[in-house]
Symmetry: C2
Subunit: 661 residues, 2 copies
């Protein structure tokens, strides 16, 4: 008997990609081998860019409200007598790089926001206790848009199998030993074991075959998907072992609610990450050498041992706790996957293709941003609005980020784990000035807003595509008519970087908005027309003729938009002008910039103005973007908020004419 | 057989009071005669102060996110040729009076926020389809704290009875006639009818007797509770009839997303209130005279008729719609209840004691603020932290507000309903300048932040208590030791008004907060110590001795706090100092200002500083409050956020020593 099977466009195992599919209307299944949701304690810093992405999905406000906000980093170092003292204060988030600042929140809440969003926009459900048992891929069908080249046998686990007995206790006393290392990277992966058991128990109806057009594996450092594809993580494991304690601290250390990096003379380092609900996370170094040296018996690590290390480092300040929410230990490894996809059909993301120290606060952020980068591309190909060539940019863009991350993490870990130099002659010690400089530089990197994707079919910037990415060929051939945007028309908007935010007012109701709030993650491309000073007749004329060309029946706007869909459903046009709001009327603008919809009248949420608000000051958006207030420009923004092209107001069609989308 | 009965501390029928009880841990039942929640269309403006109150309960962010924000009022008047034109723009909310601005949101959502809050903090449920059938009150037990002087027989309705067939359709075509007047104030109240039916159907187990210590009746303009008490609404009904349409407008009127007041030469007036989800509410005048004149057959009012009136007023602009969410018509009456309570045991609130025009955007706001004023007082008496004398301040404070509201509404309605004057000689016409002035003045009133409660046992300000209130005697006798606060120590914080907001930073983690965010509605009194410049030794000494006196075993703080409760559970101390944050440590402050809790360590959320933030500028709080940056002062804040006393730092005990609390 042939096995039953079902078809699905995308098979994935994490929520960010699922959320994209939900917003883009793609047929998707999400499977997770675990029977339960996130465990206690697993918390993460959310960088500025991650919060911006959350906002584009509509739930940054929930994270912002529930999280702990980190404002300042305090550096503590030994003074000349060896006593730790606060040597520096640095802002945790560099001022003015984003409308958000870095915060910390339990992963369970973040998962909840994604699940609520999935529920709101789709009927995608996470199927828990389901894991892939075998994967076959028909390479010959890679380029066939109608084919389902991926076949996966899914094993459904029993509840018992999906919820192993070793589950993390939510409140451990300081003497509990066994649970903290469960699911630490120092414990063995249990996927194969789970699978073996399930196969042995094999009951009818617990296995099914799914054929998929695309598959995304974000299945962790031991990635089953990666192993099936035969891809490797390149790089190495260090001997640094760190303990983690999530506690409500009882301490006289004055900066316990700040993010702190504490270096003691001889007793190691502690990083303090204040969390929500009075919790504080402590990262404590348990070994002091990068390679070899005094080996620690890892299986003996206990919370008590971790606490004692912290106490030594933080002396003479006292620290203890009555409530411990979670603890673990891990070993730092810094590795990057050799390949991020198989024929742009099966993709790897997150820990499956890069592992690094959690202390840089990057873990969840970079992983989520991988699938944030990938999700809309797959959706656009499936929806027929883009061709498959854009999928190559996933590896080009994200593998490069992973490489940069690992380089940063390597340097940072070495500085953090090292012993402070006694003086300038102490060559094996770490210079605290160098550490501070690295921390500050790391802050910009860690914010996520510095991400700068290279030239490609999706980013019309100058230079060599392979060099700017990870080496993958994503260039537009000369014959294809490569176009290069004009970066000097918007000196603070960078092609390849995310569209920055600034406050503008809605022309129709004078409400101030951070313009980024309008760049929703719903799969749409955007054209932002900086219309300039429309009170000047010649400029007004430029806008009128742009309107005429956009609304022409043969315009790219009509070409890309299915006949039965609203004109703004594939490419949305926003206008930001710089004339006085009170001297301008919405109806002064061409109708295509405020399109009429049946039953709803004109669209009042498309035209904005760079003017003073009543209650929230002046955004000064043109200045902030480096755009000429009289002449303006046009900017094309990808569905993920990254800038694809900048050019003259009337040239925007050229970009869409040639760029594959 | 004697009827079974149950005891309850408070019996109420609206959510604001219930929310207070939930937050103060009071045994409460909430009954509502309706079987369902709020109907489509019932939307309301939320004033600044209402949003501040929502924030004190923890859900202003939800209202802020979902609502439509109104930023600007546009006045449209006939020009010399009789064509309407925009004559003025005024900010809808006066800048800098609050951290919120007026917004508009469907009542059903607001109800949802309250219900979610009730669920989070208590097990209070709204019992729907339940209405009181009889009320008896034993006046002789009024002053006995243990007595249940109120006995109410509650009738449980069947689902059919509680959900009358006449239910408002959510999507009415413009030809539907019958439903819009359902529950308009032009339809008869159906309480008695419901009751009659239920009695006739009388089944076993559908009736119960409840004995209560307190009862709050917010049962609308036809208030059953008020009728049982024999109290009257004083004032009169006008002949002004207004129609209301909630539509998605299709119009070329340029200000449809602004709040507009449109006066035409001869065709009446329209008020435009833009709402959420693309909806716009239009208030349209259907009659043109205050008394007598051409009578309209009210039962014939249809949405088509209302639309046609709007079209006449708004010509030459065109307006129509395909989607109507709701419509109604109402007659303006301006009346105030003679009494707001029976022996300070049974209270009336909201429409039960004041009715007025909805156009001022005051309806729900003033009603909610009635019970916001009342709820904590009842809870404090029941919890034993206040004596019953404070309950008299409810009528004194809120009846005065109702009187002021009706006076304002009377003037505003006349100006709004009248015909614009043709010129200065046109004596029966309305001066548009006068209208604009009234609108601007009305804006401050309508914001809710101008509320200024008179001198009383709860407000230690100078002057005659009866004169400043509604005439009720709420003064502190000279023998009782009346104290008067020192208003000159904080020139922008006013006794009797709500504590204003401004940004400060948390000393422990540098996070910026609007200080008002910490004034949670949880029943606690607050002492805000403006500690001044604590880097000056003499000032530091003042703070240290305040700390010593507050933590003395016989201090008022210990006297008011039950032995088994945390020291901040009845009165919470917040400190705002003006020294440099980075040169000050949390541990510089007396422990009573950052109390130690077992298992949790010290409290990091009690000491704030008036200093520059990294990302949100400088709040300049001392300047904003008019407090001397060196010397500071103390301010006592009531549980509802209103200022009770201002004085020297060290004198705060005096206020608590004598004031009844």
């Amino acid at each position: 008997m042939a096995p039953d099977y079902s078809n699905v466009d995308v098979l994935i195992d994490r929520l960010m990609a699922a959320t994209w599919m939900a917003r883009c209307g793609i047929d998707t299944r999400v499977v997770d081998k675990r029977g339960t949701k996130i465990y206690a304690g697993q918390a993460d810093g959310l960088q500025c860019r991650t919060l911006e992405i959350f906002d584009s999905f509509g739930f940054a406000d929930r994270a912002w409200k529930e999280s702990n906000h980190m404002l300042e980093i305090c550096l503590w170092n030994p003074d000349s007598e060896g006593k730790i003292r606060r040597s520096d204060r640095i802002p945790d988030t560099i001022p003015n790089i984003s409308r958000f600042q870095q915060v910390v929140l339990h992963q369970g809440r973040i998962e909840r926001f994604f699940l609520d969003s999935l529920k709101k926009y789709s009927d995608i459900k996470v199927e828990r206790g389901v894991l892939p048992q075998s994967l076959t891929f028909d390479e010959s069908k890679s380029e066939d848009p109608d084919a389902y080249p991926i076949e996966v046998v899914l094993q459904h686990l029993t509840e018992e199998e999906a919820n192993p007995a070793q589950r993390q206790a939510t409140n451990v006393s300081s003497n509990t030993k066994s649970d903290g290392l469960f699911r630490s990277n120092m414990a063995a992966d249990d996927t194969d074991e789970l699978l073996d058991k399930a196969v042995k128990n094999g009951r009818a109806g617990t296995r099914e075959t799914v054929r998929a057009k695309y598959m995304i594996g974000c299945d962790g450092a031991h990635s089953w998907t990666r192993r099936q594809l035969g891809y490797k993580l390149e790089g190495e494991q260090t001997d640094y072992i760190w303990g983690v304690l999530d506690i409500i601290p009882i301490t006289d250390f004055p900066d316990i609610r700040m993010r702190c990096a504490i270096h003691s003379v001889n007793s190691g380092s502690v990083m303090v990450i204040p969390r929500e609900n009075k919790l504080v996370r402590l990262y404590i170094q348990m070994t002091t050498t990068e390679k070899g040296g005094n080996k620690l018996d890892r299986t003996n690590i206990t919370p008590q041992m971790i606490l004692e290390s912290a106490q030594k480092t933080m002396a003479p300040y006292k620290i203890t706790y009555e409530y411990c929410d979670w603890w673990t230990a891990y070993q730092i490894g810094q590795r990057v996957g050799s390949n991020f996809s198989k024929n742009e059909r099966i993709f790897l993301a997150g820990d499956a293709v890069h592992t690094h120290s959690p202390k840089a606060g990057q873990g969840m952020n970079v992983s989520m941003q991988d699938t944030y980068n990938l999700g809309w591309k797959i959706a656009a190909v499936l929806n027929g609005t883009s061709n498959r060539s854009i999928l190559k940019t996933y590896q080009s863009e994200r593998r490069r980020i992973a490489q940069d991350l690992i380089a940063f993490d390597h340097k940072f870990s070495r500085l953090f784990s090292g012993r402070p130099a006694k003086d300038v002659m102490d060559e094996t010690g770490i210079s605290m000035q160098e550490f501070k400089d690295a921390f500050e530089k790391g802050n910009l990197f860690a914010s996520g807003v510095a991400v700068d994707y290279g030239a490609s079919i999706l980013v019309a910037k100058d230079g060599d595509a392979a060099e700017q990415g990870d080496g993958t060929d994503v260039s537009v051939s000369k014959e294809g008519g490569r176009i290069i945007g004009k970066s000097d028309l918007a000196t603070n908007i960078k092609m390849g970087m995310r569209f920055p935010s600034f406050q503008v007012l809605n022309q129709a109701d004078a409400r101030p908005w951070q313009f980024q709030e309008w760049l929703k993650s719903d799969g749409r491309w955007r054209i932002v027309v900086f219309a300039g000073n429309v009170s000047v007749p010649t400029q007004k004329k430029r806008i009128d003729s742009l309107g005429a060309s956009l609304s022409a029946p043969d315009s790219f706007l009509h070409r890309f938009t299915p006949k039965d869909k609203p004109i703004d459903s594939v490419i949305e046009i926003f206008t930001i002008h710089s004339a006085k709001r009170a001297e301008t009327e919405l109806f002064d603008f061409p109708e295509i910039m405020r399109p009429f919809k049946k039953g709803e009248g004109w669209d009042y949420w498309k035209v904005f103005v760079d003017d003073v608000s009543y209650h929230e000051g002046y955004g000064d958006a043109y200045k902030g973007c480096g755009v000429d207030k009289e002449k303006g420009c046009s900017v094309v923004v990808r569905p993920d908020g990254y800038v694809g092209w900048i050019g003259e107001i009337e040239n925007v069609g050229k970009c869409f004419g040639t760029n594959g989308n």
